[in-house]
């Protein structure tokens, strides 16, 4: 059985107008992302990692090219449809947590659920389940400034998954965390990927974080300069990764960002 392609990035270009000149971030990027993958996007600062993530998440529009989600174009739909799609399928985790300062942990996690037709008790149930998963049930009444960075990021992860999306987009989720708390967050991400079958796309500088991914791509100067299957320290992942690796000859299951870009 082949692996389902969740995203197909096709000849994707993005440039910004700065003054009178057009600055290209990347052009003609090609890459597939499979369902169930845990992909780390790496690369130096300014290489366009966040921009790529935003494009995948549908909060930014490509200059050229397309991204398909399950074979469907979604960037040329209305903003309302894109919002609805995000609300249902995508969870975002940001480097700087981006929690609402006056809301408790539970309140922050509940935010995306306000977009759903749910009763108060249904919402509560989901919020508690999400907090349980990130191990913060006992912190549900705490405001962001009453918690550590690691706890805040776990709240952010809970917020991202509370609506049960199939994709998690994480932009340097461990960027503001020390090693130990970063590990906690990454463990949760791995759990979400392995047990809950979430597809995770994570931008990171952090080699530790990259260890948790199944695949890794490196962006530089607007090109995918390197792609590899991670041989993780985790046994399960290793096996699976090896399996995929062996599969590569026959199936183009995993990463097909063939020399990503033609300048």
């Amino acid at each position: 059985m082949g692996v389902d392609k969740l995203f197909e990035i096709k000849s994707l270009s993005k440039s910004f107008i700065k003054g009178k000149t057009e600055v290209s971030i990347f052009s003609n990027l090609n890459m597939d992302i499979n369902q169930g993958d845990f992909l780390a996007i790496m690369g130096p600062s300014g290489s366009g990692k966040t921009t790529l993530l935003n494009l995948i998440g549908g909060i930014d529009k490509p200059t050229q090219g397309t991204v398909l989600y399950r074979g469907r174009q979604y960037h040329d739909t209305t903003e309302a449809e894109l919002s609805a799609w995000r609300a249902q399928h995508v969870g975002f985790v940001f480097q700087s947590f981006n929690l609402m300062p006056m809301l408790s942990a539970a309140g922050n996690v509940e935010l995306p659920l306000l977009l759903r037709q749910l009763t108060r008790s249904q919402r509560r149930e989901k919020v508690m389940a999400a907090l349980e998963l990130v191990g913060l049930v006992d912190r549900k009444g705490h405001k962001p400034n009453e918690m550590s960075g690691g706890q805040n990021q776990r709240v952010a992860v809970a917020r991202a998954i509370v609506g049960d999306p199939d994709i998690l987009l994480c932009d340097e989720p461990t960027g503001n965390l020390d090693r130990e708390t970063a590990t906690q967050v990454l463990d949760i991400l791995r759990l979400l990927n392995q047990e809950f079958k979430k597809t995770i796309i994570m931008v990171t500088h952090d080699p530790l974080a990259a260890q948790y991914a199944k695949h890794r791509v490196e962006l530089d100067k607007g090109m995918i300069v390197n792609k590899e299957v991670v041989v993780a320290k985790d046994a399960v992942v290793t096996q699976e990764a090896t399996a995929i690796k062996e599969d590569t000859a026959g199936m183009s299951g995993e990463l097909v960002a063939e020399k990503g870009v033609v300048t």
Binding site: T51, N54, G57, I59, D60, E79, A80, S83, A84, W85, R86, A87, Q88, V90, F92, F94, S96, N98, M100, P101, M102, L103, A106, G107, E110, L111, P112, L114, L115, R120, R123, R159
Partner: protein, 387 residues
Amino acid sequence: MNSFFLLLHNIARNKVRWFLNSFALIVAFFLFGFLGSFYSAFESGSELAANDRLIVMNKINFTQPLPYSYINKVDTMDGVKQLTHASWFGAYYLDPTDPLIGYAVDADTYLSVYDNYVLDDELLTNWQQTPVGMLVGRAMAERYGWLIGDKVAVSSNLFSHKSGGQDWEVLISGIYDGKDAQTDTDQLFLHYDYFAQTRTSGGNTIGWMVLNTENAKDNDAIMVAIDDRFENSAAETRTTTERQFNKAFVEQLGSIGLIITAVLSAVFFAILLVVGNSISMTVRERTREIGVLKALGFSRPQIFKLVLSEAMFLTLSSGTIGLALSYFALDAMGKIPQIQSIVPALLLTPSTVLQAVVYMLLLGGITGALPAYRAMSLNTVDALRRS
């Protein structure tokens, strides 16, 4: 938690600013309710006096009677729609030092001319068909604990009863309410026939006539025609509109009204700028959060609604508090006898409340719409990059 909670959370973020805005709005709506009601209470005397209601009285003064025969003569004149008459009874109940407002009237026609007295048809008929029946207002009935069917004796300080004394035995057969709060319900009405037949003096006379005209435009002509009709007779008449009584007073009030309007407009305009500015400020400060909400899947209309409802909530809640304060202030002032004698029914009128609510919605809408639009149109990526 729900969207409303999210709104409260945004309010709680900057309590000082919220408090200042709210305070300004409370003051504005307090002034609006207070001044507006004061003004309309002043004016209501003249408003209540319907413009097409004319009063025909003896030219000497209104305590002098008119011959009963005038009723038919005026009633048949052109332009007269409905006519009724009344006589001052000089009433009191038990305590001669506490005079009451009481008239002997024609029960069949009086309430069609004074349509601001409300009672159901059954009671009206009951009163009309009871020769010794008395109609009283709600306030008076409550003061004396009178109920329908009670037999009481009301006294006159002007007339004597044929069978001796100054008491008239009557049967309470109707209690009326005012159409609005300004209508006087502290009055009593006897049947003219019963009164005229049992009094020792006064003979075949009435106090004055009140009439409606077909068309208020003809009032001037009709007034002249009536007074001309009785010129050089034994009882000459003077016909005026009810409103004329208050005319001079109202003309003065016109300029007060203008000043009130000008001051309130200035206050509201200032508030529009202040509140508008501070709502835009809260949106600017929250740019990044709005970006996050959009990334989470909040749609443009949802963001618009969120910001707009904040402004609406601010103006509606503060406005309501301001109005409530004005209600209590007016209530307290209305109880002071000196003020009562100038403005009898000082209270927050429904029309003032309605106007205030419209202004709250307008203020909320105007101050909220632009920031809400700006929030809704924020580019998500740019908003998220903002630190």
